[in-house]
Amino acid sequence: MSAEGFLTISDLNAGYGDARVLHGVNLSVGRGEICAILGPNGAGKTTLMRALSGMVWVRGSIGFDGADLARRSPDTIARRGVAHVPEGRGTFMPLTVEENLRLGAFTRRGRGTVEADLERIYTYFPVLKTRLRQVAGSLSGGEQQMLAIGRALMSRPRLLLLDEPSLGLAPLVTRELFRIVRTVNEQERTTVVVVEQNAHLALGIAQQAHVLESGRIVLSGTADRILQDEKVVQSYLGYRV
């Protein structure tokens, strides 16, 4: 297990206004690990990601590398090294690819390092380099997801939150994306929490996985174990692997 607890969420409640969506979530992710969050629609996966980046109200604690992120503002959390790629990407449509990427480095100053980071992003996503002057709104879905991830990496995050990166993408594109996420994780030791409906893909790159249902964690374990347990996958995820 991830005893190290780079990210340790304990007794986390979160929601919107009067509506509580998460009920006492506990989980822990080790430094440099990839952790998959699975679960049916409406389970609260997106809400969990938003709680981690300070976009919804939270109660409980979110330990992150020795600090508590609970009840901090989104920009403070971003400055602490958490990058959130939201569901639906959240790219800035009227801005160019380059402007989007530069915005990713917003929390850091210093010109030289930003240029170096741009080059670093292009090695992961060569296609972005050919689209620099294009507005993000004119990219394909896959390219936009790459842009969203590239933008997040521009901040040199210590924790990368990916919310359904495969949403609306062709299987081939999705597989490529996950391959890149794994490469990033290996090369930069970035800790990743990825929410996915496509359990097979997520479990393919993750070490740990948690199944969320109605705002509660109903199953946790190593990715291998959960992948093996076909019955579990079927009943919790609603389709065969």
Partner: protein
């Protein structure tokens, strides 16, 4: 707009799923969708105008040509026309500020005229009481307006959409009674009459021409400043706030800080414009800054073209000429003509005149290419 009126945390629609799309899709079925159909509607409409912060080589040539014409104009026109074009530039500077706030930062203000008035009155009082040289009043008027913009921006940035519109409108509404009250300083409803800057003998210019060139210098300075601002890291932050607040925030953009800053800057440009106004008119009174001025300015920048650099210029023409043209067309109800004109322009050119100009150029080019 609706995206922005969401409460914090209502991130679900922020640049994400089109409303109709079913989230329970088969994992294997979905194809690599081209730009999503739902959300970009805003982005799509605004893209041509907003994406261009850098004008490109052709743009710079156009700017140079425009400047050349602007320098030539006052020697060809009668003084009254020169005065009118001077006022166009005054309004353009004010609209540059409003454009920053509305077009680039995605906020709204129905109180821009109030900051314009602050600049005008600051200048007038400085000239009236201390007899300062005209040029010295410009930075002071801009600074005072900037400070007031900060002061009003701080509480205003907590509000969105209609609430923000209402509060900024209130600023414009209480201003005039306030000016009338402090009679000893502001001259009350009588206003203040001031000396206009006199042309130095070596220039050989008439007064109207001198005022024109002074204002032109202010306008050029203001445009350069706005250009630099928008190309900087801060400009990108404003665009991010405009396009998707929630996404901007998770990237580390402190929303209240940048929104307040946008207010302060926009007020600063309005203040500088107000200063030039006092130079040019040589008279200020509460009646010069009624609420409709703020509304006309907002109409001007929306019609001129939000987020583009030609927008404030076209908007300046609009603010200067359309109310008086309306008066000529129908003396009894200029408001009706004015309103109708706004409706017609927005119908023909939903992205404003700047967008229309871009479309016309593009289609002309296409026609020329075909032949």
């Amino acid at each position: 707009m609706s995206e922005r009126t969401n409460e914090r945390g209502a991130f679900a629609n922020a640049g994400s799923e089109p409303p109709g799309e079913d989230r329970t899709r088969e994992p294997a079925k979905a194809a690599d969708t081209p730009p999503r159909a739902g959300t970009p509607s805003r982005g799509r409409v605004l893209a041509p105008a907003l994406a261009r912060v850098t004008p490109g080589r052709r743009g710079w040539i156009a700017v140079a040509a425009l400047l050349a014409v602007a320098c030539y104009l006052p020697f060809q026109l009668v003084p009254f026309r020169v005065f009118q074009f001077t006022m166009v530039m005054v309004y353009a500077v004010a609209l540059l500020g409003l454009n920053l706030l509305v077009g680039h930062a995605g906020q709204i203000s129905l109180g821009h005229g109030a900051f314009f008035a602050v600049g005008a009155y600051t200048t007038a009082i400085m000239l009236d009481r201390w007899d300062l040289p005209h040029l010295a009043t410009l930075p002071i008027a801009a600074a005072v307006a900037f400070a007031l913009g900060l002061a009003f921006g701080l509480p205003a940035v907590r509000l969105r959409g209609l609430y923000l519109a209402l509060v900024t409108l209130a600023i414009a509404i209480f201003l005039v009674p306030l000016l009338k009250r402090f009679e000893s300083v502001t001259g009350g409803s009588m206003g203040l009459t001031l000396a206009k800057p006199a042309p130095p003998a070596w220039t050989g210019l008439a007064e109207d021409q001198w005022l024109y060139f002074l204002t032109l210098a202010v306008a050029v300075l203001a445009f350069l400043l706005a250009y630099g601002l928008l190309r900087s890291r801060v400009g990108r932050a404003l665009h991010a706030v405009r396009d998707n607040e929630a996404a901007a925030e998770v990237m580390g953009v402190r929303l209240p800080f940048y929104k307040t800053l946008a207010f302060a800057w926009s007020a600063m440009f309005a203040g500088a414009a107000g200063c030039a106004y006092t130079w040019v008119i040589g008279f200020v009174s509460p009646d010069s800054f009624v609420v409709t001025l703020s509304i006309t300015m907002l109409a001007g920048i929306v019609i001129g073209g939000l987020g583009s650099f030609s927008g404030p210029l076209l908007g300046g023409l609009f603010v200067m000429f359309v109310p008086s043209i309306s008066q000529d067309v129908n003396d009894a109800a200029p408001g009706v003509i004015f309103g109708l004109l706004i409706i017609v322009v927005m119908y023909v050119a939903p992205t404003g005149l700047a967008g229309l100009a871009g479309r016309v150029t593009r289609s002309t080019k296409n026609i020329l290419r075909k032949e």
